[in-house]
Symmetry: C2
Subunit: 152 residues, 2 copies
């Protein structure tokens, strides 16, 4: 996988969370996933097609997404409910949209399917592709989340 | 959503499970999902783009997928492990591939992203689209599963 495909997703994630949730997020070093398992409590998942087919997943720990959505809405969210799911769907769309615009500027055009949001304590996600799976860990003052980008 | 988009997924599901797992599956009446929640133990999820953007999800109860994969492999599977995940990814790809071929014959061309498999007891999936979400319940002698098809 062209590593140039990954940076736009990092940039978009930082920008979206700063803009929407006033959060400072720190991107850790991207790593190649060997065990191909994202484990978390809420995930947004979005398929991509185009010069390569792929998928991105944004997987949050409960505490982290509750803080993000509390900041977005300006009210304290204390449980994983439909509003949290809506927000994760919207964040996933926005991260994908900004990343795809940056990629398009590099001549790499992708189309996006529609996002799905998975909720379930400690669910895991495995992407089925021969291609490498790149995970980017993010940390915030209120817990961690991970972006996975996987292309054929 | 054009209801003609749904039948190819029903036909493909029946055909794939009969061919790969020697299972008789009965398709129930498709219904419009109002609560937009598939709840199950293992799901395959695949994004589609093309004349409409969408996603399909295949969500299995544990007992049902264990029987299906036991039949596919010719050995008794007793827990949700990586092999079950691989099989769900493969089944999702095959159902999507056959359905897309039938749709292409109708002049409706879709591209598929790559499948992701979610494992987690009683996880739920919500699709973020303004479009209707059609659920098709399937039953077998060994438990139930659901296909969801959702397009913009």
């Amino acid at each position: 996988m062209d590593v140039k495909l990954v940076n736009p997703f990092i940039n978009a994630t930082i920008n979206v969370l700063e803009t929407m949730a006033f959060m400072n997020v720190n991107a850790g070093k991207p790593y190649l996933k060997m065990d191909s398992m994202a484990v978390g409590d809420v995930s947004g998942l979005l398929g991509l097609t185009g010069i390569a087919n792929g998928t991105i997943a944004v997987t949050f720990e409960e505490k982290c997404i509750l803080t993000i959505v509390s900041n977005m809405f300006g009210e304290t969210m204390s449980e994983l409910n439909d509003e949290i799911g809506d927000a994760v769907g919207e964040l996933t769309n926005m991260i994908s949209g900004q990343a795809r615009r940056e990629l398009e500027g590099m001549g790499k055009v992708f189309k996006a399917a529609i996002p799905s949001v998975i909720t379930g304590k400690n669910h895991s996600i495995v992407h089925y592709s021969e291609g490498p799976k790149i995970a980017i860990p993010f940390n915030t003052d209120d817990g961690d989340f991970t972006i996975e980008v996987c292309f054929e």
